[in-house]
């Protein structure tokens, strides 16, 4: 089932549309310079999103990534149609990202440590969690538990994939059971929360990790700012839901700049093994 080799990065380099200037500080951006800086604004440190491929490149030792569960694809159990059919949306996401789903799972080495990686990509339908994301996470957890490899999940998600109805919501229960499976060994499970991680992912495996790491500035919440403003008409405080606010409110262990992320994850995993 494993497929050796490094991940396909889409022709555009794997990110979403490249901005011409930094949205945080307004500094003009050179795409190549930005890429060379791990897509962190050299002027202000703003962390631009990474694609799943870029994330794997960042974390996995060169050539060590072996994807599993590659053949899993979304079905359309509800025959869901809104303004467009679900399958059309999936196909479009596949085409635009070059990915098979919003999460890739597999094994890799990080500084020579064997790990299981589960990496989400927000570009794939907003990183929404449907049946395939849930099943891939399950298989990753199963592999981690069996091989006694620690797991690193990198989260980026808008929540449940509405087009799969309750089946998508239930992926919260499924991934929770998967985390419990790792805990019963135990193998260490560390989550890295990147911008944005919200909804069902934030309310299941992401916050169940032994250690929770976040990238600077990442929006991390269950209900997003727009929902809060529209539903309960509350004014949002400055920095609401950001990694920094989560740290202060005791919800995460640490904020790690992207440049230090791999080293830090390896240190943490090394100490928990």
């Amino acid at each position: 089932m494993a497929q050796r080799g490094s991940v396909e990065i889409s022709p555009r380099g794997g990110g979403e549309k490249r901005a011409d200037s930094c949205p945080a500080c307004g500094a003009p951006m050179d795409a190549e310079e930005l890429a060379a800086n791990l897509r962190v604004c050299p002027a202000c440190g703003h962390h631009f999103p990474l694609s799943a491929g870029e994330r794997i490149e960042l974390l996995a030792d060169q050539g060590s990534w072996e994807e599993i569960a590659t053949e899993l694809r979304s079905d359309d159990p509800l025959g869901f149609y809104d303004l467009r059919p679900y399958h059309e949306r999936v196909e479009e996401a596949e085409y635009e990202t070059g990915l098979s789903e919003a999460m890739l799972v597999g094994t890799a080495r990080m500084h020579n440590m064997d790990v299981v990686l589960a990496v989400m990509d927000f570009r794939f339908m907003g990183g929404s969690m449907g049946s395939v994301v849930g099943e891939r996470f399950w298989r990753a957890a199963e592999l981690a538990a069996e091989a006694r490899y620690p797991m690193v999940a990198v989260c980026a998600s808008g929540g449940a994939r509405m087009q799969e109805g309750m089946l998508s919501l239930l992926q919260m229960a499924k991934t929770t059971c998967a985390v419990e499976m790792m805990a019963s060994v135990p193998v260490p499970f560390v989550a890295t929360l990147t911008h944005p991680t919200t909804g069902g992912v934030m309310a299941s495996f992401a916050t169940l990790a032994d250690v929770i790491v976040a990238e600077p500035g990442a929006l991390l919440c269950f209900s997003g700012p727009r929902v809060i403003e529209q539903t309960v008409k509350e004014k949002l405080p400055e920095g609401f839901g950001r990694a920094e606010s989560n740290l202060e409110h005791g919800q995460i262990d640490m904020i790690v700049p992207r440049r230090e992320l791999k080293d830090r994850l390896v240190q943490v995993l090394g100490m928990l093994e």
């Binding site: 025959g79 239930l170 229960a173």
Partner: protein, 330 residues
Amino acid sequence: MPSGLFGKKKRALQEEEGRLRRRLAELSRLPTLPGVHLKDEVAKISQRLRELGRVRGRGEGASWEKVKLARHPERPYALDYIGLMFPGFIELRGDRCFADDPAIVGGLAAYQGRTLMVIGHQKGRDLASRTHRNFGMPRPEGYRKAQRLMRLAEKFGIPVLTLVDTPGAYPGVAAEERGQGGAIATTLACMARLDVPTVAVIIGEGGSGGALALALADRVLMLENSIYSVSSPEACASILWKDAAEAKLAAEALRLTSSDLEDLGVVDEVLPEPRGGAHRDHAAAARIVKEALEENLRQLELMKPDRRRRERCGKFRRMGVWRENGLTLF
């Protein structure tokens, strides 16, 4: 899970319905071109959809009717069931941390010579009690109270019954700051780990993660006119249709009714309601829930804790539909 021919037939009808609805959506997006007459095809599809609806036991707007029933202000709430099913119920309060959340109630119930821990979302009926209960929308402390009570139940080998009825977890700034996401996640984890029997009953509105948090149970039962949904039809419509007014369409698409969810294998059993709905006869509804509870507990108590936990996780592991190497797995 659908099983045997019955399940397969249902699924075939469901697929046909999906196909037709998708085609209808495509047609509706086509520009009106001279010489192209779509009316016939639209009419044919609509006719077939009505037929399918009848076969599958619902007319047009049937899902929306269920939404209205599930939210009916006279529908029995958790404390109504508790009052009818468990005289002498003792409420236990507080998360021992920040607050007591009245949107979740819980406590000890004497039941057939043993004890149950009953935990449920609680809505209010008049303005004062609605405000007090925060419209049944829990804050993190509600979920943490639920966890505390579940652990207490586990300590003394007491089975857990949850009654699910919430529009969703409360989407407020302070609730977020106190870790709404983590509170739901750890409640799920707590339910996954419990070694006592657990039964969840969706009694009204099973809204999103805030409902699911109390429903990772050995058995998930659902009252006929309840709904259980990944998001409210209104929220879904405003996101996918960009128009909250399309909630009726969304309600249909989301497959949130008890028969939909039985088809999808999401709930283990649908409980029939008294004629016209549970709000017409609270006592009869409570009797129905109690009987189902009894039968399910009886079965669960025959199993060893390990096996119960393994089967519970196994059930949720199977939730989802995907294709793999050309095969659709369910």
